[in-house]
Symmetry: C2
Subunit: 238 residues, 2 copies
């Protein structure tokens, strides 16, 4: 099965959560918008009136005739095919629940630099951004990190992963958000991570998975930058 991933070609963004799953599994996929004329193909697909089930926004995945959007939904679809989630319904529902909590966390990370509108520049909402980021680093990161640390502690299978006995796509996504937060808020994360050692240890275990490590050091991985979800503005990193 060859998958086609459609996402903005210059940022990790939400697409990265899908890329990590595809890469870790060694799946056969094309990152369409990063190919020549790929961006035009993506825009054509998004704007076509002929598509019965159009995505609201990238990322979306083509799998055969299906066009699937919403990051967590793409992962819900892919994970059993990539062997990145338990086979039973209870395990899949639990994994998806955690993924949706990560998705909420991602929205909040984005809104630290765009608390008023995505249609305005950062400089036009900097005062509000400072207040929102102060709350995010003081209250929200600790709440989310503490939650995932607890989940790792309580894993009923006694494993070192979030869901069941083996690695799942949710582990890859927790790795990604920790990476992103380290880029955006290095001071806050340096202070907070030692209080949540299980989450940090999971990040480290994911980083050395062979397929993933190969991806992370390749040119396929777009560096973090100031256009993505995670942006480093020192004045927001209290």
């Amino acid at each position: 099965m060859r998958y086609e991933l459609y996402y903005w070609p210059s940022i990790q963004g939400r697409g990265e959560f899908v890329r990590l799953a595809l890469e870790d599994a060694g799946a056969d996929y094309t990152d369409i918008a990063r190919k020549p004329k790929g961006m035009a193909a993506m825009m054509r697909l998004m704007e076509s009136r002929a598509i019965g089930q159009p995505p609201f926004a990238p990322p979306f995945l083509k799998s055969g005739k299906l066009v699937i959007a919403q990051t967590a939904n793409i992962l819900l679809y892919l994970a059993p095919r990539l062997d990145l989630v338990p086979m039973n319904e209870a395990g899949r529902v639990w994994a998806h629940q955690l993924q949706l909590t990560i998705a909420d966390w991602v929205v909040e990370a984005h809104d630290t630099h765009h608390p008023i509108s995505s249609g305005l520049y950062y400089d036009e909402q900097k005062a509000a951004a400072k207040r929102r980021a102060a709350d995010f680093t003081a209250n929200r990161i600790p709440k989310y990190l503490g939650y995932f640390d607890q989940i790792l502690k309580r894993n009923v299978k006694g494993s070192e992963f979030l869901v069941g006995r083996n690695v799942s796509y949710v582990d890859l996504s927790l790795f990604q958000i920790i990476e992103g937060l380290r880029y955006a808020f290095p001071r806050a994360m340096a202070r907070l991570e030692p209080k949540h050692p299980r989450a940090t240890a999971l990040r480290d275990r994911v980083a050395v998975r062979p397929q993933l490590a190969a991806y992370l050091s390749s040119e396929r991985r777009i560096p973090f930058n100031q256009e993505g979800i995670f942006r480093h503005y020192p004045e927001l990193d209290g």
Copy 2:
């Protein structure tokens, strides 16, 4: 099957999206926190260290031994059991994609009155709220309403519902967000709805479904109020 729904007892909030599905299907369920001592039971469950898979936040649903959180995840689980989604995978993936888009819209609706922090009072973030709400009513509501209007127009089965031939939980959720936005932003919605007649017509078709109409006029339905996701501050309704 008796379901137990756990959610804050004084607001519609995110729990309402689950209630509407349970009510429309005539499911056997208990709204735990609205029963005597129910709130204490909910807090006990949330704070218990004995639970291996704790929810991050309400709403959550108990179904047998499963405890399922995240609104869209609860609906993903319930819908096939309540006959509120097509049986095939493609239909379910599509329905969930739309539901996650509604979930994004709900976050944005909430953040109009709390753009800085949920831990601060509205009055402490009123200036930012005015800016965010102005963007929400000028740009975001039209974008989302326009999207769902298109989905109704393009339904490949030619039906008057969002997904496939029959009503689905996504139709109930679109009803709910339109209701909420009418409460919060009556002026904006009066201006915008005529431009998106299919979405409004769907809202009207859902409202007269017999089980749902009975629920809506019952005491089980909590009125909209100033504690929920949708709040009416005239100064935010430009």
